[in-house]
Symmetry: D2
Subunit: 312 residues, 4 copies
């Protein structure tokens, strides 16, 4: 039966109090479907974090901060595990909301949305966010924007860095402290963007859509090795993967956690093998996709890798 059949599936046996690292190892010994993929993802992500001279990209799409995943991301920034962060505007909006002391709440997806509307509660699947939070958000954002130098031109990452210096916790704050650039190509497409539009009606500061590209491209040209952890698809995934297209390089490590599917053709659900044809990831890149909800797969992956790193 040949070498294809050398590594047997191990039937899984669970024990009380096993660690997350032990569980993910057991998934690797079982080795099938997305459990197997998650275990391989842990191996790749560990290698990527351990490899010196690897530039580590992180893509953040999906409504992850409202689901409590912001803490995982800011801890990764804090721990030096992210060099370049690319996010949707929505995640940054909710990061700021939490950072200024407002909260998201446990709700239910099976509800009457017109009633919620009347109670001034905005729904994100089963998370509720009171309108009140957006009032505080508006006050905070207008304040922060008012500090921008009149008649200047600013890049999106500088704008976000400026916000991060004014918050006291969260992703933008930690990134500002650690001097990690946060890119958000579609910043207009978020409450941050709407607040900026409001500000811009009476102020003249130009946000240059392309001002972040030179620094990012320099980084891609000079990276000895590159790795990416992609949570969800959307702009963050594509913006990270395309960044290598103009260089002779490609990503050497890539892990994506997505709930999408490839057969619809969209980039969000595209396999990482597809990215090989484009040269976005190298021919030899270690790459794996784990299909599923990132509120499950991201904590599993990160906790398992932290445990392995902790052992030295």
């Amino acid at each position: 039966m040949g070498k294809e059949c050398s590594e047997p599936v191990t039937q899984m046996h669970l024990k009380p109090k096993m660690t997350v690292g032990e569980l993910v190892s057991a998934m690797g010994e079982a080795g099938a479907y997305n459990g197997g993929a998650l275990s391989r993802a842990a191996g790749i992500y560990e290698a990527m974090l351990r490899e010196k001279n690897t530039t580590k990209f992180f893509g953040l799409a999906g409504a992850m901060v409202p689901a409590g995943m912001g803490g995982v991301v800011s801890d990764l920034v804090e721990g030096g595990h992210i060099d370049v962060l690319v996010s949707t505007g929505a995640n940054l909006t909710h990061d700021i909301i939490e950072a200024i002391g407002c909260r998201h709440f446990h709700g239910t997806a099976f509800c009457d949305d017109v009633e919620l509307r009347h109670e001034e509660i905005n729904r994100i699947y089963d998370v509720y966010l009171p309108n009140k939070a957006f009032e505080h958000f508006e006050e905070f954002m207008q304040n922060v924007f008012s500090e921008l130098e009149p008649d200047s031109t600013i890049s999106i990452s500088d704008l976000l860095n400026h916000i991060g210096t004014r918050t006291k916790s969260g992703i933008l704050h930690t990134a500002a402290i650690k001097k990690i650039p946060v890119y958000c190509p579609a910043v207009q497409d978020s409450m941050v963007g709407l607040q900026y539009w409001l500000f811009s009606q009476t102020n003249n500061v130009t946000v240059d859509a392309f001002a972040d590209m030179p620094a990012l491209m320099d980084r891609c040209f000079t990276a000895q090795k590159a790795g990416a952890l992609l949570v969800g698809g959307g702009v963050p995934k594509n913006f990270i993967l395309q960044s290598m297209l103009m260089t002779p390089n490609g990503f050497d490590y890539a892990v994506q956690l997505t709930g999408d599917r490839p057969d619809l053709g969209g980039l969000s659900g595209a396999t990482l093998d597809e990215a090989r044809s484009w040269g976005k990831i190298t021919e030899e890149a270690q790459a794996v996709t784990v299909y599923g909800d990132a509120t499950i797969t991201l904590p599993l992956l990160v906790a398992a890798v932290l445990e392995r790193m902790h052992h030295g």
Copy 2:
């Protein structure tokens, strides 16, 4: 903003060496999407296992044994956590294959299936099973079937119990030892069934399709409380849920782990709320669906609940 917004989302912070139980608790504090649902599932499954006088059903669909999940199921049987097991024929086929010493192997889904065919390897997504296993399987099954009393009539669960007394490990074996009935309404639809057809060409033993119903229905009528853990949909899910339809009772606890989706209308992806309209589960039943791959969600759920039970 009212009582809908009383329980805030907690941003998640992971620690090296945290236990699976701790991780699932953190998912509960974050509380959103399928991570939140998984945490609620752990609460419900724990309550269901702790509640005395609860009849505990387990539905096993999807290719779980080839993915190493058979060990989790047989341990649950061994631990007294399953009173009634309903399975697809395929899972039982692969359980027998492992029990007679054959193995499944780690493979890849990105391969040439015609080449695999030439190498006599059967593929189940990224799991490989050599044809050789089916040769051993045939020999074993024909042997076991030959022990059946000629000209008799037998129920499906008795047939499966008989197989379990001849294997030395696995789900059917453990169930036979623990005297747990295993129901498999569509046993014909599996390699067990094809082997039985082969046997029946020269032997006269009748498998009565409905012979299992009276004992099952009695159990449903007399159950003080009932709970179900449903892995995948298919026949096991429906057969378990419908079993309460003819009784004044319904399931009091229900957890389903599925990768399907509700909007296609099929029962496999149907919500448990839909089951309330039918009276399959009670109006007050604690019930939750976790969407995702059961090779991830089943071990997470079971390890977390074992940890909680272990603490007493």
Copy 3:
């Protein structure tokens, strides 16, 4: 750029009053993702229906009859396009319900299922079925079962054929008229099965689970060519595909319409290429999967193929 790039994507232009066949042809000229797959499916299904000496299997899973797809299936039987039908018990239950004059109704999936319970309405996603229908169903079924010869043994397909001779329309009725066997390996797993259990409490007729296998296997051994249209997965898909496993043959044509996904490992979402490794379909078989809701893809496929057949 080689021969891989010889057939260009044609940008689609739609016209008022275009026929379904014209639309599916346009999807073929665009040729991508599931639209392209649907067009290829039409080509394969047309070839399969036109090819003389092809035994034509049809697998019916998912809640298709409550969604009005039963009419499409009974018309295919009527038109001589189905030689062997394999169905879930649920579809046959709902077929009988419609055939005895009860109806399913347009509802909504966004509702209070406890309220529906109080109003005695059973929900299937956004289809409603009043309990009343099950009262008529019970009366009808008990009547029909009472005509079975006492102390006899019967196969599942004979039981279903008997029901079909007593209904006046629908799938079972048309199949009975056209003498097309209907297989339902898991008949216990349905309201038909529950009614049979009720009947069997006071009557002694044995339903032999394996009695249908010899005729089916004979058919598979003698088929010159074989083709399958698989709507959904579950027992029908597996039972059809496995039927060729014991023969030297395999399916020459295969089309599956499914909303499932392959990466979860279950057979319902498995690709037809996976089936090649097992020899269920031949190495050269024309086969394609169209992912999506069969309430859209089945009518599109069948209407387009009927149009092509009509032209001669």
Copy 4:
């Protein structure tokens, strides 16, 4: 059984040569799952197109142009059925590629991507695009960009309009002719963006990320009624829906065609009811989601509505 059960499901009967409009009507009479939703979508989209004084938004995400759907979109622009178009950068990139005479090709998703890389073919699921196209694209884009006024500041929509005046067919061209604004908030995130970065290394033209907001917001404030057809999620969906948030208005009509799912929490898969809680769509808005591949659902929807409009 009450008024909930007044509209019965009609079993579907197909006829050769039926028109797309007739098929979609039959789906409406069947009325279940996504087939039923598609029929309701046709009703809403027809009402939205017929209603005078309705501002008609169109969101274009997913790799639709490589799949031949660009023709459908440019025809809708041509026909006056789109007032505001929001697109991903990728769709516009591929629109330009087709407009300058390069082609996408039918390929397969089951291939060796490293081999494709060696043959200089880029893959988008089962669509192939030779690298050569990007060489022509680069030449064209650099030429077009070189015509921009030095040291000026430009909005994204003006940049795209400028491109559209230089192409001879396609979405951007038709939009330029018809003076329809095309918004692309994340233009950097595309090959258009990478080409612009290349241009900007030696030229000084500022693309103002927010310059499009005032005109868009004015439009939202003054719209008497508003409707949206959303193909896929991503930035286009959110950017369109959020545009009403700062106004007292909301969308009165909304149809989304998506392959995503709601339970992952991301906006791409979110229901339109969720949008009601935010006030993005009005409390009374006619809104429906059709789940499935837009290469199937978009042509079905548009062809059916064109047929209805054609009848007067």
